[in-house]
């Protein structure tokens, strides 16, 4: 199997890119694929915190890009999942430290190490960091919230994926795009207060790979430095497992997209 590079991007900040990168990479590794997840948010790294490896970061992506150390010295092996590796972003240097040739070399070395998947966690915005994260991508997860500014920014990012990436510039097969809707609240959709997934799908015209419901467990997971896919029995974990399965070509119907009416007990005594 050849190495596949997947960028997790969105344009807008705070929509769930890092949460998604962490859970998606973990999910692929849980399925037995050798996976590396790279934080491209130079200067504002956070993937290490979400993955719970913040105290084990010694070297980072910039050290490797600048050829100061070997790639293997910077790769952090996950303690829970075999075959999962994390490459942290630099905390101190600015984004311009990320040079294209350096990034290409690092990705090339990961390919030589026979990784199945490389997940690139993009920073927000449309600057150098985001462009670097998407440049060598084969596929893209575009993370979108059911909210106007996020949908607009996703449209912008989709435009860049089809014009600014290596595949687009060299005129090869285009980057395969997947739409991932996060923080979805079916009850509010039914109440007409939130864009539905059909609305978003119709506007962005990109194949939907999954819907992650709005949930407390995402915060609970990040508090503990645990990728949300590890939250046993939660809707979010199940939804992320479905995303991984669909990405691997399995046919899974969408879940957690229908409004749930509270039972009579909850209605009488109130929720919680």
């Amino acid at each position: 199997m050849t190495t596949k590079i997947v960028v997790v991007t969105s344009g807008k900040g705070g929509v769930g890119k890092t949460t998604t990168s962490a859970s998606f990479a973990t999910g692929l590794a849980m399925r037995g694929f050798k996976t590396c997840v790279i934080d491209f948010d130079v200067g504002l790294r956070n993937l290490d915190l979400i993955m719970g490896v913040e105290r084990r970061v010694v070297y980072d992506l910039i050290n490797v890009v600048n050829d100061e150390i070997k790639l293997t010295q910077a790769l952090i092996k996950d303690k829970q999942i075999d075959k999962l590796y994390i490459l942290a972003a630099s905390q101190t240097r600015d984004k311009d430290a990320l040079k294209q040739e350096g990034v290409e070399r690092v990705l090339g070395e990961l390919k030589e190490m026979e990784f199945d998947f490389i997940i690139c966690d993009s920073p927000a915005g449309i600057e150098t960091g985001a462009l670097m994260a998407m440049h060598y991508a084969d596929e893209a997860l575009v993370v979108t919230n059911p909210e106007v500014s996020s949908v607009r920014d996703s449209d912008r990012i989709l435009g860049m994926l089809s014009s600014k990436t290596k595949r687009a510039i060299e005129g090869g097969e285009p980057v395969k795009e997947h739409l991932l809707i996060t923080r979805y609240n079916p009850n509010r959709v039914e109440g007409g207060q939130m864009l539905s997934l059909d609305d978003i799908h119709e506007i962005l015209r990109t194949p939907l790979i999954g819907v992650i419901p709005e949930s407390d467990s995402v915060l609970q997971a990040s508090n503990q430095g645990l990728p949300a896919i590890h939250m046993q029995g939660s809707d979010v974990a199940e939804a992320y497992k479905d995303v991984v399965a669909r990405f691997l070509g399995e046919d899974k119907p969408m879940r957690f997209t229908e409004a749930v009416k509270p039972g009579w007990f909850k209605r009488v005594f109130g929720a919680k």
Binding site: E147, V148, V151, R152, D155, R156, G159, S163, V189, G191, G192, Q193, M194, L195, S196, D199, I203
Partner: protein, 85 residues
């Protein structure tokens, strides 16, 4: 709430307002992005070079223009040949 709304005349849901606004603004922004791809000036230059081999023309005599009509992209090239060579 739903019951009252029914009698007071249904107001448009905010979600459908959001959808309409997005469709409008994105149609506009996509047009801005795709109407002139980066390669148009280069294409124009090369066309001038090729045609100049056979006919003498001014660079301004060639107009290259990209237009989007629904799902179709139309590349329009207009070449004005000088009268009586």
């Amino acid at each position: 709430m739903g019951f009252l709304n029914f009698f007071l005349g249904e107001k448009k849901s905010t979600a459908s307002v959001a959808k309409e606004r997005l469709q409008l603004i994105l149609a506009h922004e996509r047009n801005g992005r795709s109407s002139s791809p980066d390669y148009l000036p280069q294409l124009q230059k090369e066309l001038v070079a090729v045609i100049s081999k056979y006919v003498s023309i001014n660079p301004d005599d060639i107009k290259v223009h990209m237009e989007r009509q629904g799902d179709l992209e139309v590349l329009e090239v207009k070449i004005e040949l000088p009268e009586g060579k």
